[in-house]
């Protein structure tokens, strides 16, 4: 059973990465922080009796579920908002998905002249390219190559087959290479 110190150390080690995962997905700073806190809470509430070595995989799964829950809640909220707001301008309803609308509204600020540090621009460009990937591709790519899970573990966290993970990773890599090339970054 993981002690409170082990859980504390584990969470301290993953909290920033978890925040980035959530921020890439929802593209909103505050929502991403809420998602990470919820994931931490769920891990401690439900799985603090598990051995420390099981925590990373459990936490990744909880985090991905928390991100999906965020979009599910947003969809329900959006449904009720549309239902109770008859004064809404019909032109706004252009058939875009909620995710794409939220992404567009909260798109990261383009680096301006004040952000002249090239490293920071490079990071921002790659992070933006990652944010623009389809959700499942981004999820597979980050779990596989940033969290360094193997294919089987990634499939377990994503709740899909190992073949799907490989396909998502392959497509994500190609899409990222294409996007970075367009931004003038040669992979």
């Amino acid at each position: 059973v993981a002690s409170s110190q082990e859980i504390d150390a584990f969470l301290a080690g993953v909290e920033r990465r978890a925040f980035k995962h959530a921020a890439f997905a929802v593209r909103d700073h505050h929502s991403a922080l809420d998602i990470v806190q919820n994931a931490m809470l769920r891990l401690v509430e439900r799985y603090s009796d598990k051995p420390a070595e099981e925590l990373p995989l459990l936490f990744q799964r909880i985090l991905q579920n928390a991100i999906h829950d965020h979009f599910r809640r947003a969809k329900v909220r959006d449904f009720w908002v549309r239902l109770v707001s008859p004064l809404r301008d019909k032109d706004e309803d252009n058939g875009e998905t909620l995710e794409s609308v939220a992404a567009h509204a909260n798109a990261p600020r383009q680096p301006g002249p004040e952000d002249e540090i090239s490293g920071r621009q490079h990071i921002a460009a790659i992070e933006q390219a990652l944010s623009e990937l389809p959700a499942r591709q981004r999820e597979a790519f980050l779990l596989r190559y940033w969290e360094e899970l193997d294919v089987a573990e990634t499939a377990l966290v994503m709740g899909c087959s190992e073949g799907s993970v490989k396909t998502h990773c392959f497509r994500a890599t190609n899409a990222l290479a294409e996007k970075l090339k367009k931004k003038g970054i040669q992979p």
Binding site: S4, L11, E15, F19, L33, Q37, I126, E127, A177
Partner: protein, 120 residues
């Protein structure tokens, strides 16, 4: 595009991004973690009452349901039909003859007197 080469490069950039994360976000993540751990563990590292209740929520719910059932039973149970104390007082003051408790078939008519009902 070599998948692994690109992945390595992006991983490095993402790790750089983590190192450059702004102080406010770091502080908020730290505060969130402390809040979660404080709600789940006592200062000596053991599970707090709230954490235990959450972990064993089925037992807690069963205990609450049991307590609710007992309370409802106590409040709604029927009152006793007669109070024995009242009958004792009536017997002592001769308002009820003792033979009223006896079996009809064992009581002699002369013991009961003229007011007693007879059964054929």
């Amino acid at each position: 595009v070599n998948e692994h080469d690109l992945a390595d490069e992006i991983r490095q950039v993402l790790d750089d991004g983590l190192d450059r994360m702004d102080g406010e976000t770091r502080a908020r993540l730290h505060a969130a973690r402390r809040q979660v751990l404080n709600s789940a563990f006592t200062p000596d590292g053991r599970g707090g009452a709230l954490a235990l209740a959450r972990q064993h929520h089925r037992i807690v719910l069963a205990l609450l349901a049991g307590a609710l059932f007992l309370t409802a039973w106590f409040m709604l149970r029927p009152e006793p039909l007669a109070d024995g104390g009242d009958l004792d007082i009536l017997l002592l003051t001769d308002d009820i003859p003792p033979q009223i408790y006896a079996d009809w078939r064992l009581v002699r008519r002369e013991d009961v007197g003229p007011l007693c009902l007879t059964v054929n």
